[in-house]
Each structure stands twice: as structure tokens, then as C-alpha cells.
């Protein structure tokens, strides 16, 4: 199944010629870093949820962001996607300054995210959820014409549904799905079109051990050019699917390093790993 996902992602996205050329142009422009945050601070009133965050992520890099509750991990994601713009600092996506872009402009440039609590469209079918995700990053968002039999995006959506094991329920309304299925759909929505960088916010939350194994399979089998940042409390998941780790604490970056270094770091163990298991 993981092999199938790779296959789908590799062959499906470049169906829309306009989008393909945009993706190519941008990837040429931004040869340096996929994501570059400089001094990003986010205030909620007097509370600093993020303070002076500076991170550089290479294209294709996979990184975990760890930290206790309230460390600012999800706020970091919200700043990167533009859900909450940063109070100060700059964010560059493949070299382009996107600090003041609305979320949809960032998404159209190849950024994707999933949500900690599934953010789906409960009134629509599984197939329509994924179809919307495919449509959102291509042209014809306002089209009044129904998709025909050979609609490329409809096929792309069908392949994506199949890749996350939801073909059997693709005509069911999302409200009727089990939790694990909703989490799978959540990932499918983030992989539509031609993603270049994905933010996964606790994708393993509430999954059974079997489902976790499948999730790891999906993450490790993503095409090499797709980088991601993953927030995950489950170390078994987090440290197996990344090559670098950023530890956050109280809205600041606490430590950066390779998974083994972080795992064996006494300060980290005291602060997070030890404290978490008390």
C-alpha cells in the first residue's frame, strides 16, 4: 500500500499544466531552503506563544518538533500556514517571502498541513473531500460545470482515496467514518496536488498500534522531494520517520539535533521524556 501511495503521488500531480509550471518555476527560484523562519514571534495579548524562532529546513528534509503541551508547536504551524500571522519576523517558503500571504496563497505554492483535531467536511462524502483538496490547488475552483467521466482531478482524488485505504467508504459521508478513517482522510487531504512541504500535526493521535504502523509506512514512503515537519508525542512514531529534531519549550527553541542525540540528551530527558512519563 505504501508503494501504491508513492506511485500515485509520483504520477498524479502534474495533470494540470498551469500548476506544474508554477511548481517548476518556484522550485528553481528557491534552491536554498524549503522553509526559513527568521525571528518569528507570536503574541496573544501579553502572552508570547512563540519567541524569536529561527529555523531553516532543507527541501526534502524531515524533521520532528517535540515539546510539552503549550510549548508553541501548533502555534508554530499556524504561523507557517498563515492561520495566525506572526507578530514579527519573516517566513520564507522556497525563497519567497510569504510572511504576509493569506493561507490559500501559501497552499497554492506547495505547502500543506494536517490538523491535530481532524478538520474535515463532515457533510460531504470521502471522495468529495479529497476532490476538493485536489481542486483547491488547481484551476477551476469556481467552475459551475460538474466534473465529467474523464476528469483528471476526479481520478487523482480516487487514487488518493485508494492510497489511504478508504475506497470501500468513499461514497459515505465523512460524519459516519470511524476515528482512524478520519485520520487517514486528514492525511489524504494534505497530499493532494503537488505538495512540496507538509506540516503534520499529531497525525498518530488516537490511532491503534496497527494504524500507527501504517502511518509510519505512509510517512517513510513519501517521495524524496517532499519534506515535512511532524509534531508527535509518540516518540516511537516521531523518531522513526525523521532525520532531525527540534525541541521546543515555552515558545522557544530549546535544542536541535539528530534523533539519537535528542533521545540521549540528559536535559531533554529531564524536561520532556522524563517529565512526560511521571
Amino acid at each position: 500500500m505504501a508503494g501504491k501511495l508513492v506511485e500515485n503521488l509520483a504520477k498524479d500531480p502534474p495533470k494540470d499544466p498551469a500548476m506544474d509550471s508554477v511548481a517548476q518555476r518556484l522550485s528553481v527560484v528557491g534552491a536554498g531552503a524549503a522553509l526559513e523562519l527568521r525571528g518569528v514571534t507570536r503574541l496573544f495579548g501579553a502572552l508570547a506563544a512563540l519567541t524569536d524562532i529561527t529555523i531553516t529546513v532543507r527541501p526534502g528534509e524531515r524533521r520532528a518538533v517535540l515539546g510539552s503541551n503549550g510549548a508553541g508547536k501548533t502555534t508554530l504551524f499556524n504561523c507557517i500556514t498563515g492561520d495566525f500571522p506572526p507578530s514579527s519576523g519573516t517566513i520564507r517558503f522556497f525563497g519567497e517571502d510569504v510572511t504576509h500571504f493569506p493561507p490559500y496563497e501559501r497552499i497554492r505554492r506547495g505547502l500543506r498541513r494536517t490538523y491535530q483535531i481532524s478538520a474535515l467536511f463532515p457533510g460531504l462524502t470521502v471522495q468529495d473531500n479529497v476532490y476538493l483538496a485536489c481542486r483547491g490547488v488547481s484551476r477551476g475552483r469556481f467552475s459551475f460545470l460538474r466534473p465529467g467521466q474523464n476528469d483528471a482531478l476526479m481520478h487523482a482524488a480516487e487514487n488518493l482515496v485508494q492510497a489511504v485505504h478508504l475506497s470501500g467508504v468513499k461514497d459515505q459521508r465523512v460524519a459516519e467514518l470511524a476515528h482512524g478513517q478520519q485520520r487517514q482522510l486528514e492525511i489524504a487531504l494534505a497530499l493532494a496536488g503537488a505538495p512540496r512541504f507538509v506540516l503534520f500535526d499529531e497525525p498518530a493521535a488516537g490511532l491503534s498500534p496497527t494504524e500507527r504502523a501504517e502511518l509510519i509506512e505512509i510517512l517513510t514512503s513519501l517521495p524524496a522531494h517532499i519534506g515535512y515537519i511532524i509534531i508527535e508525542h509518540d516518540m516511537d512514531v516521531a523518531l522513526r520517520v525523521v532525520e532531525s529534531v527540534t525541541m521546543m519549550h515555552n515558545g522557544r527553541i530549546f535544542k536541535e539535533g539528530r534523533p539519537q542525540e535528542i533521545e540521549s540528551d540528559p536535559e531533554v530527558q529531564e524536561l520532556y521524556l522524563g517529565g512526560g512519563h511521571e
Binding site: 478538520a119 467536511f121 460531504l124 476538493l132 469556481f142 470501500g168 493532494a192 496497527t210
Partner: protein
């Protein structure tokens, strides 16, 4: 895993059939829909002029206005109380640009110029109102659109230069061409029926097109829509533009129907009537507003006689509507359609349990089985 794959393959044809039916016209294999269509088409043979115009044409016109609200509220999650105001604006524009008894106000343009002008202006009016309203959510949308409706009502009352104050504009000219008086009962009924059918099918069609699906996505989760690449506010404003056009069409038909337009037709009470019609009928499907309008018109027309017979004040027909409204909202979150659907479901499940499962349900069962298998296997 391989077992799960095999089961899924056997399920797929069933699912494909279901989807093609959903994507196409569900009405095509529904004999009841054909019967209703046939009855509506031959209505002039059955009904006299009173029923044709006062009941059915009026129902279809009010249904059109409620349809524009249903499109916004049912698909977009935006409850707009200004749909009647947009229709009223369109009606006023037909009277102002066309010919009427108030020669000092009306410009006397032929209908084929006045009507497109009215439609365009009313659509712009509604779109601008929508652009204001989309900055808010929920109850604030209701308040802003209600404020626009109330402001327009008082403005028409006080403005004499264009809207002729509280007397309004009377004896509005109606189209005559090809030797036909199109306001005569039977031709007018067919015009109204044609416009209503066109809008009904347009709304039904768009609900499955990318624009309509995206609108439903905006209703369910606007933030996620933005995270999928959609400009949510642009989508909402576009929905207002489309709904305004439908309401504007209804306004043209309404002014032709009554041949006059005055502030009384655009009062706040009338704005709320449209909401009641849509909610009573049901706002999840485009047929709902028309059912709601039929109930409303029948009550408005006959409740008076009924109440007088009981020795009550005939003007209390609104009491009946209000009680009916309460009952429907209490028992069904989706109006009359919701009641009908839950009744059908109960009937079907009763039949299924007595005669065993038929193919479609069995197929869905195995579909569920396969995903469970694939998750645990």
C-alpha cells in the same frame, strides 16, 4: 491485506453505480418527480385562473426567493435575511426603468431592456450586501442582512424621487409580444414555471459542481478550505452573487404578478416570511423551499376562511403558520423534507428487516468490512 483488497474489488461496481447516480440527476429514476413535473405542466387544464396564479404561480415565486436563501444557508451556511430585499429591489428597478402608471418616475424602457437592467442592478446590490455580510459569521450575518433589509424598507418609504414613497409604483407594464399578453394567466404561469424549473435545476446542478462542493466545504470548515488553497471569502461573495441573481429573477416575476410594488412588499416581516418558508420546507435540498412556499401560500389563502369558521379573527393565519413553524422546527431539523425522509427511512428499514437485506445494503456492509479488515489485517 490481500484478502481485504479482494473484497474491495467486488464492492467497487456497486459504489460506482451509487456515485454516478449521485453525480447525475437523482430525480430521473424517481417516478414521483415525473408525476409532479407532469402535473405542473398540465396544471392550466386542471386549475382555474385563481389557483393557477394566486396559489401556484405565487408559490413558485416565493419558492424562488426561498431557493436563493436555501442556496446560501443550506450549501454555504450563510443565513441571509435580505433575499426578499434583493427581489424587491429588482422589482422596483423593473418599475422604474420600464413603464408604469407613475409616468413622472418610470423611464418607459421596453421590458427587454428594463429586465436585464433590473437583474444586473439587483445582482450588484446583493453582491455588495454579501461582501459586507461575509466579514461576519452566524448571528452577525443575520443581523447585517436584516439591517440591510430594514434600511431598504425605510428608504423606499421615505424616498419619493425614485421609489415614490409609501404609495409605491402602480400599474407596472407587463410584456406583450408575438401577439401574446404574457401576463394573461396561462402564459404567465408557464413563464413562472419555466424560470422556477430552470433555477431549481441550476441549483441542483451547481451543488455537485466544483463551485457548489467548495461552498459546502466552506460551510463545514472554512479554515480547512483556506488550508486547501481556497479563497473562502471570495467563494462566499460569489455565492451571494448567484443567489442574488435568483432572487432578482423572482423579483421581476413578482412585480409582473401584482403589477405594482410598494414598501409593504419589502417589509421586515416579509423578509422573515422567506426565512420561515425555507426552514419549514427544509434547507438541505432545493425542493424544500418550494414545498415550504406551497404550505405558506395555502395557509395564507385558506387559513383565513378556516379561522373565521371557527369564530376567530381571520387575520390570525400567522398564528397557524407560527404554530406549524414551531412544530416543524421542534420535530425535524430539516423541515418537511426531513420529516418525509425519516418517514421513508423508517418504512424502508421496516421492509428490509422483514424481507432480508437487498443487494445495495449488503454491498455497503462488505465495504465496511473490507476497510476494517485492511486496518486490522
Amino acid at each position: 491485506m490481500s484478502l481485504a483488497h479482494d473484497t474491495r474489488v467486488t464492492v467497487r461496481p456497486t459504489a460506482a453505480v451509487q456515485r454516478s447516480r449521485l453525480r447525475g440527476w437523482p430525480e430521473i429514476d424517481n417516478p414521483a418527480a415525473w408525476a409532479v413535473a407532469a402535473i405542473l405542466l398540465i396544471m392550466p387544464l386542471i386549475a382555474n385562473g385563481f389557483f393557477l396564479i394566486e396559489i401556484f404561480a405565487t408559490t413558485l415565486i416565493l419558492g424562488l426567493m426561498a431557493l436563493s436563501l436555501m442556496f446560501l444557508a443550506g450549501y454555504g451556511g450563510m443565513v441571509s435575511l435580505m433575499q426578499l430585499t434583493i427581489a424587491g429591489f429588482s422589482a422596483y428597478m423593473v418599475a422604474v426603468f420600464g413603464a408604469s402608471g407613475n409616468a413622472n418616475i418610470s423611464l418607459g424602457w421596453p421590458w427587454w431592456l428594463a429586465v436585464p437592467m433590473a437583474l444586473a442592478l439587483a445582482t450588484i446590490f446583493g453582491t455588495l450586501g454579501g461582501a459586507l455580510a461575509v466579514r461576519t459569521e452566524g448571528i452577525y450575518t443575520i443581523m447585517i442582512t436584516l439591517a440591510i433589509g430594514a434600511a431598504f424598507y425605510y428608504f423606499t418609504n421615505q424616498n419619493w424621487a425614485i421609489f415614490n414613497g409609501h404609495t409605491g409604483i402602480n400599474t407596472v407594464a407587463t410584456p406583450h409580444f408575438w401577439g401574446v399578453n404574457w401576463r394573461a394567466d396561462i402564459p404567465f404561469y408557464y413563464i413562472v414555471l419555466a424560470v422556477a424549473a430552470l433555477c431549481y435545476f441550476a441549483v441542483d446542478y451547481i451543488s455537485r459542481a466544483p463551485f457548489g462542493l467548495a461552498l459546502q466545504g466552506v460551510r463545514d470548515n472554512p479554515r480547512r478550505m483556506a488550508a486547501l488553497g481556497f479563497n473562502v471569502n471570495a467563494h462566499r461573495v460569489a455565492a451571494y452573487a448567484f443567489a442574488s441573481f435568483v432572487a432578482a429573477l423572482a423579483g421581476v416575476l413578482q412585480v409582473w404578478n401584482y403589477r405594482q410594488i410598494s414598501p409593504g412588499s419589502v417589509s421586515v416581516g416579509a423578509c422573515i416570511d422567506i426565512l420561515i418558508i425555507a426552514v419549514v420546507g427544509g434547507i438541505t435540498r432545493p425542493i424544500g423551499p418550494f414545498i415550504g412556499a406551497l404550505i405558506f401560500v395555502l395557509l395564507r389563502t385558506f387559513a383565513l376562511d378556516f379561522l373565521v369558521k371557527l369564530g376567530l379573527d381571520g387575520n390570525r393565519f400567522r398564528l397557524l403558520i407560527g404554530l406549524g413553524f414551531l412544530a416543524i422546527v421542534f420535530w425535524s431539523s430539516d423541515g418537511v423534507i426531513g420529516l418525509w425522509q425519516s418517514w421513508r427511512r423508517r418504512q424502508r428499514s421496516g421492509a428490509a428487516s422483514s424481507s432480508g437485506r437487498h443487494g445495495r445494503e449488503a454491498g455497503r456492509e462488505s465495504g465496511q468490512g473490507s476497510t476494517q479488515g485492511s486496518r486490522h489485517g
